[in-house]
């Protein structure tokens, strides 16, 4: 994996100014919006399961 060294990426500068790319992947993946970081329900259940397994609830 390499990295860009230009201060402004030419590829980004060449990208459209409006979103024109197709979205791929899980639409419910974890992300931070504003200062709220969303935890999807399936992860909450996974964590609860882990706590149950370790007798913490």
């Amino acid at each position: 994996m390499t990295e860009s060294s230009a201060s402004v990426s030419p590829s980004v500068a060449a990208l459209p100014t409006a979103p024109a790319f197709a979205m791929l992947g899980d639409a419910d993946a974890e992300s931070c919006v504003g200062d709220v970081c969303v935890i999807p329900a399936h992860h909450e259940q996974a964590v609860i399961n882990r706590l149950v397994d370790s007798d913490r609830v």
Partner: protein
Amino acid sequence: MVGVHVSDPIKVDIWSDVQCPWCYIGKRKFEAGVAAYGGDVEVEYHSFELAPDTPVDFDGTPREYLSARKGLPLEQVDLMLERVVGIAASVGLDYDYDHVHQTNTIKAHELLHHAKSKGLQLEMKERLLRAYFIEGGHVGRIEDLADLAAEVGLDRAEVVRVLSEERYLADVKQDVAQAAAYGIQGVPFFVVDGRYGVSGAQDAQTFANVLAQVASERESVA
């Protein structure tokens, strides 16, 4: 895909913030996805400010910040943070929210642009995230940032100078404006080959699949 050769690295532009827990988790998953893909990938990080109104010297922990900001009971915040810590641990990251310094990340973003100009952006990004989430480091003050920058090979005095002069502030603002133009509302956000958007801390296999898809499409039109 005019001008793109099959053998060219696949460019991935990543919008991210230093104090975004999913960005560090997503970084690990993305790196695993790149390894699973196996081809050449070129990465460039872009600035995104989740909480630009946070003071540099916020007097409190993320726990207190979230509670005050969202009006949540501390017990509920503790549960939220425990969930994040658990998921971080699943990708090998030992988050320490008891010692995280909530701060403003604008200077950290300026530093990432400076590091990019020196070919050290990936190293700087990793160092900032590790300092913030794992080591309890401060990523808002110029002197602290300069110390971290020196660790990855940047000239400390030069870092202090460019951050004091706000030499890369316009670049940060341009990244933020570009994100807004794209409609990016949350981070991490990955733009792959300028054509595909991937939002959030996806599974490693998802990243690998997207990269393989781009490579396959390049070969089909070559």
